[in-house]
Amino acid sequence: MDALVSLDRITKDYGRLRALDEVSLSLAPGVTGLLGPNGAGKSTLIKVLMGLVRVTSGTGQVLGHPLGRGFRAIRAQVGYLPEDDCYLAGLTGVEIVRFMARLSGLPSIEALRRAHEILDFCGAEEERYRSAETYSSGMRQKLKFAQAIVHDPPLLILDEPTAGLDPEEREALLGRVRILAEKLGKSVLLSTHILPDVQAICDTVVILAKGRVRVVDRLETLCRPASPFWHIRVYGEADRLASRIHREGLEVRVDPDGSLAVAAPDGAVIQRVWEWAREADVGVRALVPARNSLEQIFLEAVRGASHVDS
């Protein structure tokens, strides 16, 4: 499958500050999470993809169109939700969405019809007829999402889309992204530092730190079972079961949340946990293979400790 985004040694300097440092990246269609701490270069990378800033060096393509020269073609096929709180003053919500649709080339009447349809999809109700200046931050976020998808782009670039949303709205927005990705085949580049958002909808994860790509991998690969560890959650005193397991010569530790992490290279050995639990007089609530947490991977990547990809 052709790469959605393909970057080759992209560097972007703002004066003496290097925001992107020889970033090489190839993203396949699907939902990709772009992770990184503040100042990692996520927003700059997105602006480079959108043709909003010129690169200092390097080349790249988005949807087969070259960066720079192909900015019109790229923007025609990309829906962009900026991180900043931005809107068009003096216009109502539906007018803004219609205006953005027309800027993308939709005919006037069709743009109005489409704007209403998309605002329905985004859950905007009567407030669409109010001036955007009176909107809450959550409603503005909804409006930005609506304008990003109104022209039906094959690629969505969402920069911190859930920032400022309450849990219910956040879940609803992620649900919409999931619908667009799974049912309508849209590709999504989701820039965020909220790890649960990435875990909720992303297939692939890119971690940026200090302007460099540290990790590019499938989420399921990154969060693979951390063999040979198993997690055991129990009713009763976890320490007693830990002592019992330790007597068998297995490595075991009690985590702060009260669960046990057991190193058991041999899968058959772990089957005996039920027996040891009965002997220790504790109940087993869950026995699952331990997985690497995204948070752990993220922190390690940021520190440059592991998964260095470049």
């Binding site: 959108m50 909003l52 900015f71 025609a76 962009y80 003053a89 216009l91 080339g105 489409r114 999809f121």
Partner: protein, 331 residues
Amino acid sequence: MSIHDLGYRSWQGRLVPQVGRFWVIAQTGIRLAWRNAWVRWLLFLSWLPSVYIAGLLLVYEQILEQIKTRAPFLHTAVPWLEGVPLSADRHQVWACLLYIFFRYPQLIVVLLVVGQVAPPLVARDVRTKAFLLYFSRPLARFEYVLGKMVVVWTYVLLISAVPALVLYAVGVLLSPDWRIVYSTWDLPLRIMASSAVLIVPVTTVALAFSSLTSETRYATFAWYAFWAVGWATYLTVTANLPSSASAEHWSLVSMSHTLATIEYWIFGLKHELANLFSAASPFAVVRNVGRAGILPPPDQVHVWPAVAQVTGITLVSLAVLFRRVSSPMRI
């Protein structure tokens, strides 16, 4: 709540051509400016002087036609006609009246209308970071700037070229002598040229001020200050000069006087007649303050320095505008 929520559906219609995208920005800007009641009032008021000038044209044409029978009566009714050489070249009289129309009432109304329309155009987008939305679309900076300019052009045309052309058309229609068309056919072209000279620098300067701030009121203040300071400086330095020719050299300190110099040249006026009409018009009150509007002979009108200055100001304003429009994306 929607009556029938269809969910998300793909859209596969036909896109409009890229070339007209700036018009979307222009159309929206025009509509937003129209919501300003001051703009609507100023537009209405801006047409009143054209009624007055049309009356002058009508009187002049009637005098020419019926000079023997009606002239004494008309001279009594309209005292300033005493000095008008009735045998003068009709083209000159028409051109002179149109020049006065552009020079005094319309320039003032243009400044007022642009002061209402232009300041929010870019300043508001700076404040709300709307550039990120605009430029997430297939839109170049040039198209954005053009769209904003068209908003100002539309309103300025509505109060300069359009009433002047209507004035010309009314004058022709009311003239008892249809041959007036042959002798004044070039005036519509001169009107268009004069409007262009007014519109282009005025728009770029106003939008440049607008782009320099996120506060509309600061842009408005800068706009009026730009004209007022130039005008006041000109009046001050020319107050005691011995001749209109000496004063003409100082016209470059005032944008309004610089534009007037170019318009004077565009209309191809003879100074004696122009001065006569100018002095006789109700707007002479403005003109007479510090010899502001005394017109020098054509051979002493140095139009090229004025053209160079207006071109320079326009180019600098454009450079500022383009730079400011792209600056929010650099961070």
